[in-house]
């Protein structure tokens, strides 16, 4: 099935989104967001894949060997850096929410404010 890897990406995106919707903990929500973002890794790598292609490193194989697309892999590196920064900021916010409200449950936070 030629679109199966793309469907895996869509599935990861939705599963992560479900985690965010149903979560009762901000740290858990942050990890769910990481799952959502990992769907973009699968999608990018799937788009650049070539049947029989090697990794785009020509230290051991001669130039001209069929290799997968290095551009999407470079984009994925950017993706990982962005994810690391987003996770760091969200976890810092979770620490401060715990300090300010005494809970990291988004539902209880709403109750306290309302």
């Amino acid at each position: 099935m030629s679109i199966f890897p793309y469907l895996v990406a869509a599935w990861l995106f939705l599963v992560g989104l479900y985690g965010i919707i149903s979560s009762r903990n901000f740290v858990h929500i942050t990890m769910c967001l990481a799952v959502v973002q990992s769907s973009t890794y699968v999608l990018l790598l799937a788009i650049g894949y070539k049947v029989g292609g090697v990794a785009p490193i020509f230290a051991d194989v001669p130039v001209g060997t069929p290799a997968v697309d290095p551009v999407v892999q470079a984009l994925m590196l950017t993706d990982i850096v962005v994810e690391a920064t987003v996770v760091a900021l969200l976890l810092a916010l979770a620490v401060q929410i715990q300090k300010a409200a005494g809970t990291v449950d988004p539902d209880r936070l709403l109750e306290l404010q309302g």
């Binding site: 793309y6 869509a10 920064t85 300090k99």
Partner: protein, 256 residues
């Protein structure tokens, strides 16, 4: 909103979204049959034109070098954001002075065993060497400034795992960490300006390209990798310190 109603709303909209995604993905090139010209072009050109054998590093630090500068700035800003969010507030200072010794006792972790200490401290040296290897060989084999920088930043974490809090605090709160982070960003910009001055374009690869496959190949790329590694390692150590400070500071105060 009620939890059940929220779930119903999610499942309905998720089904619609999944259908739209599947519809959109249906017309993508079939898996394994990559069409685009850019990947093949980069793969065939890097070794001859840039003497770089790792095409991904070539994309990140040469063809797309300007984007990587933006990427590094995102990391830099995020570390500043984490530091700002987790800064010690005046209220907390007072709270610490009042001394919540009961809470501190429960927070205090047991001392790590001798086996953990020997293994973690013994790994620090090899880990630093490995990180530097990854940083300096980014243009030859998989690796580079981002990956190597993160590996280097985990070395202080091993010191923390070994229970040596004073050394950990000494390493992570050192002003050299911040200096390294800033030097990494400015080094990247400086190499870019060198390209502007000598080649007429920002981040143009103006240095001698060297022999493909050797550590001194790729012109400005190894230097950009070094700058990135400094910025990434400094940034991650600062962020790790900001997070662990929340517990470590209290533990250290409790011990004294």
């Amino acid at each position: 909103m009620n939890r059940n109603r929220r779930h119903v709303l999610f499942f309905v909209s998720a089904a619609v979204l999944f259908a739209l995604l599947a519809w959109g993905m249906h017309d993508l090139p079939p898996f394994g049959h990559y069409r685009g010209p850019y990947g093949d072009l980069v793969n065939s050109a890097t070794v001859y034109e840039r003497h770089i054998t790792d095409a991904i590093t070539a994309v990140n630090f040469d063809f797309r070098g300007f984007d990587t500068l933006g990427e590094e700035s995102i990391l830099f800003m995020s570390v500043i954001g984490v530091g700002t969010l987790l800064r010690r507030q005046t209220k907390e200072r007072k709270k610490d002075d009042a001394g919540e010794s009961d809470e501190l006792e429960t927070r205090r972790a047991p001392d790590p065993s001798d086996a953990v200490k020997v293994i973690t401290l013994g790994l620090v040296g090899p880990l630093v060497v490995y990180g530097l290897y990854i940083v300096t060989h980014g243009q030859v084999t998989p690796g580079g400034g981002f990956q190597g920088g993160v590996i280097l930043a985990t070395a202080p974490l091993l010191v923390y795992l070994a229970g040596d809090l004073k050394t950990f605090k000494h390493i992570t709160s050192h002003s050299l960490v911040e200096l390294g982070e800033a030097a990494g960003i400015f080094g990247f910009v400086a190499i870019g300006l060198l390209g502007l001055a000598l080649g007429g374009q920002f981040l143009r690869n103006v240095l001698p390209l060297g022999e493909a496959g050797s550590i001194f190949s790729g012109g400005t790329v190894p230097l950009l990798n070094l700058a990135t590694a400094l910025a990434v390692a400094g940034g991650f150590i600062s962020a790790i310190y900001a997070f662990l400070e929340q517990t470590v500071e209290m533990r250290m105060e409790g011990e004294e």
